[in-house]
């Protein structure tokens, strides 16, 4: 997780006719063509994309996983990454949570008129770098431009197709009382990194987003532990608390977690205290929750901690039959409480 991708100097920005994206770039005419040629086709070149057809045709063997996500982050550049990294990693990770190795991505842009060309280029280069790191190909895409004020700089949609590993049996139905709840690293970094830049909340911090691709990490574990991995989910929006609530509701089992076992960076925890936010509900981009058979949990954790995406991984609790459908937190001082879904956005407190 520590290796962070920065804009590669080996991708110099091609010469565009404009400094900003204009409505013409989404018209389907010459400007669109030029933008796509130099900005997309050359940059993401691969055998399927190079056909420049309306869609990509290919053969796949085995069970397929298919996922889509839209990315509307503000601000689009933040410490540790940008919207481009998240757009690739997010969909790759959603597929990984199905036990699938991402193979192909679609890439859709909705750009607001006036968006700076050099910023667009930075995002494109990040997408290229993230896709290479995740070993996934961008094979089809779309670009639309909306009038100034009708968007927020840049929205991205990616859909992904992956092949499910033959050892993967990931389904909430497989979860049993006694299973261990494992988190792959420190929680809440992404949300706090983003928040540190928002208007009205600016504070100095070195907190970085944890955005990264998890497919290599997860697939190695799936291959080795197979059926003993009952369930995987990445706690993005809504954080750890929301994921655990979803799965508690689906299984009607009790998810018991221990606050002192949940890894949080000291800086992130301090920022949450200062802002009046609960780190359990803050977004993550490079984490996963695994529900693992009790007997395999120790070995699973050991392997995960050896991976760069799992250095801070920890067993944070267990699934029990009591308090079915609820998430129960044992506080640092030993008191117990229910952790509920969040209502709407977390709003900062007065005092």
């Amino acid at each position: 997780m520590d290796e962070k991708i920065t804009v590669q100097m080996s991708c110099p920005m091609p010469k565009f006719d404009f400094d900003v994206i204009t409505l013409g770039h989404g018209s389907g005419g010459l400007l669109t063509h030029r933008l796509l040629q130099s900005g997309v086709f050359n940059l993401f070149s691969n055998d399927l994309l190079d056909q420049q057809h309306d869609g990509a045709s290919f053969e796949l063997n085995g069970k397929i996983a298919f996922s889509t996500d839209s990315y509307v982050i503000s601000p689009i550049f933040f410490p540790g990454g940008n919207i481009g990294d998240v757009a690739v990693n997010g969909t790759v990770n959603d597929l990984a949570m199905c036990g699938a190795e991402a193979k192909y991505l679609s890439l859709g842009f909705i750009v607001e008129e006036g968006f700076a060309m050099n910023e667009f280029w930075k995002v494109l280069v990040s997408i290229k770098t993230a896709a290479e790191k995740a070993n996934v190909k961008i094979v089809t895409g779309d670009t639309k431009v909306v009038e100034k004020g009708k968007g927020d700089k840049l929205f991205i949609n990616t859909s992904g197709i992956g092949i499910v590993h033959t050892n993967a049996f990931i389904h909430h139905r497989n979860i049993e009382a006694g299973d261990a709840i494992i988190i792959s690293g420190n929680i809440a970094a992404h949300g706090i990194a983003i928040m540190s830049l928002r208007e009205g909340l600016t504070f100095e911090t070195s907190i970085q987003s944890d955005t990264t691709n998890l497919n290599h990490t997860v697939l190695a574990l799936v291959s080795k532990y197979g059926k003993d991995i009952r369930f995987l989910r990445d706690p993005t929006r809504g954080g750890l608390a929301s994921v655990l609530n979803e799965v508690a509701e689906l299984t009607q089992l009790g998810f018991h977690i221990d606050q002192k076992l949940i890894p949080v960076q000291e800086q992130v925890e301090s920022a949450c205290e200062m802002l009046g936010l609960d780190p359990l509900y803050v977004a993550n981009e490079g984490l996963f929750v695994a529900i693992v058979k009790k007997e395999s949990a120790g070995a699973f954790l050991n392997d995960l901690q050896k991976d760069c995406n799992g250095i801070h991984a920890a067993i944070i609790g267990e699934v029990l039959a009591d308090n079915g459908g609820k998430v129960i937190l044992k506080s640092r001082i030993g008191g117990r409480r229910v952790v509920n879904y969040l209502t709407g956005e977390q709003l900062p407190r007065i005092c």
Binding site: E199, G200, L201, E266, E269, S270, E273, L275, G276, D322, N323, K326, I328, K330, S331, R332, I333, G334, G335, R336, R337, V338, V339, N340, T343, G344, L347, P348, R349, I350, C351
Partner: protein, 364 residues
């Protein structure tokens, strides 16, 4: 990890709990004044760790919860004026007014910003001379100095596009209102540490004396709260009624004089309507005559009909400690955080929201 771990130390918590269990011989009812304290009690699971004969009731110390419907309506009126940027602390946005909340108002296109400090609003005023910036100055005595400072700052910068909608509330008059209620069951108070950091201890002494009621100025962390409870129970068991200070790391007897002076330079004490409780005399701050140009009520000539509270919400009884959230027939049914009938279900400090979020556990 200074101030994050020391006051959450399980061994200290254990030691205080043991002593509380040891010295408690009779049933006592304690009220923690501040919503931040309520939240910490529930969030850390402390309520379930106390002896069965100690009852904690949750006081009116959540500024969001006690802000009346008509003040929310005033805020919405201002936010909907052309060229206004309306600035607020975050948790005021979800509070229902008589027709809608500021959050709904924002979704319909009003320019509403969530800020952490009123001084950021002054900066906004400086940067946007063609806009009117209004700051929603809510809170107890704790937030009053910075809100007052924003007015002083705006005056110094000669900004004529900054004003505040003041809805400040004061703790001692509310305590008296609770203690003088004929149905009162409160034996002792945990006073709000942050309010006293500003105001000091002295104004609580006549209250403790008049109502023979122990008052312990208490912090917000688990160790603070348990020590505060212990100090209060010790007094009750001995039949004492003193004002004591648990939160010594911040609270001084005389308070923060500089902060009090700035409050007094900008605000005047006035009567204030508390949501669910009604009007309490001399229980709020309004912008004074000298700074009336910074009073949004005067500047925008607000004249809207005073709305009635939702009759289905028993927030008054909850905040006076007469009822627990679960005793409300609408709790968790008609009234949930996503559809609050009243403010205590909205704010993260509200007693109803705290119960809804954190309680409801089956003990095994």
């Amino acid at each position: 990890m200074k101030y994050l771990s020391e006051y959450r130390d399980p061994e200290m918590v254990e030691a205080f709990l043991k002593e509380i269990h040891h010295i408690t011989t009779r049933p006592w009812t304690l009220m923690e004044i501040c919503g931040g304290q309520t939240h910490s009690l529930v969030k850390n699971g402390i309520l379930n760790m106390l002896p069965a004969n100690i009852t904690m009731v949750h006081g009116p110390g959540c500024p969001v919860c006690v802000t009346s419907v008509s003040v929310i309506d005033e805020a919405i009126f201002l936010a909907e004026q052309p060229h206004v940027i309306f600035c607020s602390f975050g948790d005021m946005l979800r509070v229902p007014g008589s027709k809608k909340s500021l959050l709904e108002c924002k979704a319909s296109g009003a320019d509403i910003r969530i800020l952490y400090s009123p001084l950021e609003a002054v900066q906004l005023a400086k940067n946007n001379p063609d806009k009117q910036i209004v700051f929603f100055a809510v809170g107890f005595e704790t937030t009053a100095p910075s809100n007052a400072l924003s007015v002083v700052q705006a005056a110094k910068l000669e900004l004529n596009n900054y004003s505040i909608l003041a809805s400040h509330v004061l703790v001692p008059p509310a305590m008296e209102a609770i203690l003088s209620d004929t149905n009162n069951t409160i034996n002792a108070f945990l006073a709000a540490g942050h309010v006293c950091t500003i105001m000091g201890m002295e104004e609580y002494e006549p209250v403790a004396e008049k109502y023979k009621c122990p008052i312990v100025i208490t912090g917000f962390e688990p160790v603070d709260l348990l020590q505060g409870i212990l100090m209060a129970v010790k007094q009750l068991e001995k039949g004492e009624h003193k004002v004591e200070n648990q939160y010594t790391r911040y609270v001084q007897r005389e308070g923060n004089r500089m902060a009090v002076d700035i409050i007094n330079s900008v605000f005047a004490v006035n009567d204030r309507v508390w949501r669910g409780i009604g009007t309490i005399p001399n229980s709020g701050y309004e912008v004074n005559e000298q700074y009336k140009n910074y009073n949004a009520r005067i500047k925008f000539n607000i004249d809207i009909e005073k709305a009635m509270e939702n009759k289905d919400c028993i927030s008054g009884d909850i905040m006076k400690g007469l009822k627990k959230p679960k005793q409300c027939p609408n709790f968790g049914a008609k009234c949930k955080p996503e559809h609050p009938l009243g403010a205590p279900m909205v704010s993260s400090e509200g007693a109803c929201a705290a119960y809804y979020q954190y309680a409801g556990i089956n003990h095994v």
